[in-house]
Symmetry: C2
Subunit: 171 residues, 2 copies
DNA sequence: GACTGATGTTAGATATGCAAAACAATATGA
DNA sequence: TCATATTGTTTTGCATATCTAACATCAGTC
């Protein structure tokens, strides 16, 4: 029995913002949600109503807003998607903070959970594998800066690779 | 002077579909666009009008549809985004065809041109670099299948790495 | 030249999402 | 406890995007 909650993008954004505010200030308020999402306070009310109907938040007019258990569960999934995507853009593709944040924000609604897992796996693998890891990523970063693929440095790079391999064996 | 055309997602979809149909059948027709986008024929007309206003397509009621030079330029950018993203999902993250297609479809509107370039660079680099390349990707694929990070196979993996390096030197 | 089927357009309905502004509740503090 | 500022809500309106169903046009055929 799969919950086919099918939230719209904007409802997902609301949930994400609410989780964030909860963690920051215990409870969320309409104004803070509006500011975080860059919309007018008047636009928030409708979204909150939808979320109440779907039993994802506890909320009554003029009161604070908190997530229900189910709401929190979903909000955390969405937030994780965001974090993973941003991580990838930031640490692997080397986007700057702002670009990574913006792109992650827009991409997070386009990917399902399974895909996110795969991406997490990929990023982790890229960092952990002796054949890649930090040095490989650094080489890619250098390439993005200089535009030069310095294959002549490969020998040193492979040495690093073996070192990482040895280290892993030790442990 | 940057053209701030700011197309909506659906208009981007129209352009992409039209480019595709043009390449396939010389000209696009409303019905084909509708079928390709999975919407009703009646819904297409409005989108076409917007695109005419923005000078991105040549179109008059009851006639065929073709892209203007500017429209073709933009459509190609969008299509490239799609292709690059799908390539990444397909070849690196090893999504199956259908999942990759769907995800690429939804992600292509979330990424700007510069980000796409960076992703292209990354994928190319990943394939070309002796330290990664096909063998590394295969190892990652194996990992996604088995869930096991077989670091014990590293020695062989590093050998492959050096071979690729030698090959590159020869050339 | 008129019929017919395929294709295209229009109009009206529905839904979403957001903004602006008028209005309501709450909280603060003197 | 009253006045005021802050915060929240409602209403209205706009823009986008879609569907359905009625209507228009086109191209081919008899």
């Amino acid at each position: 029995m799969k919950k086919n909650t099918e939230l719209s993008e904007s409802l997902e954004d609301y949930l994400e913002a609410i989780l964030d505010l909860e963690q920051d200030k215990k409870v969320a308020r309409a104004k803070d949600i509006a500011r975080k999402l860059g919309i007018q306070p008047g636009s928030v009310t409708g979204g909150l109503k939808s979320l109440v109907e779907k039993n994802l938040i506890n909320y009554e007019p003029y009161s604070y807003i908190t997530l229900t258990a189910e709401g929190a569960r979903i909000a955390k999934l969405i937030t994780r998607r965001h974090r993973v995507l941003k991580d990838f853009l930031l640490k692997v593709l080397q986007f700057d903070e702002k670009t990574a944040e913006t792109a992650a924000c827009r991409m997070e609604h386009a990917v399902d959970e399974a895909s996110v897992e795969r991406l997490v796996d990929f990023v982790e693998y890229l960092f952990e594998c002796p054949r890649t890891g930090g040095a490989w990523i650094q080489a890619f970063v250098d390439y993005t800066r200089t535009g030069k693929k310095s294959w002549e440095k490969c020998a040193a790079c492979i040495d690093d690779c073996m070192e990482r391999h040895q280290e892993r064996k030790m442990h």
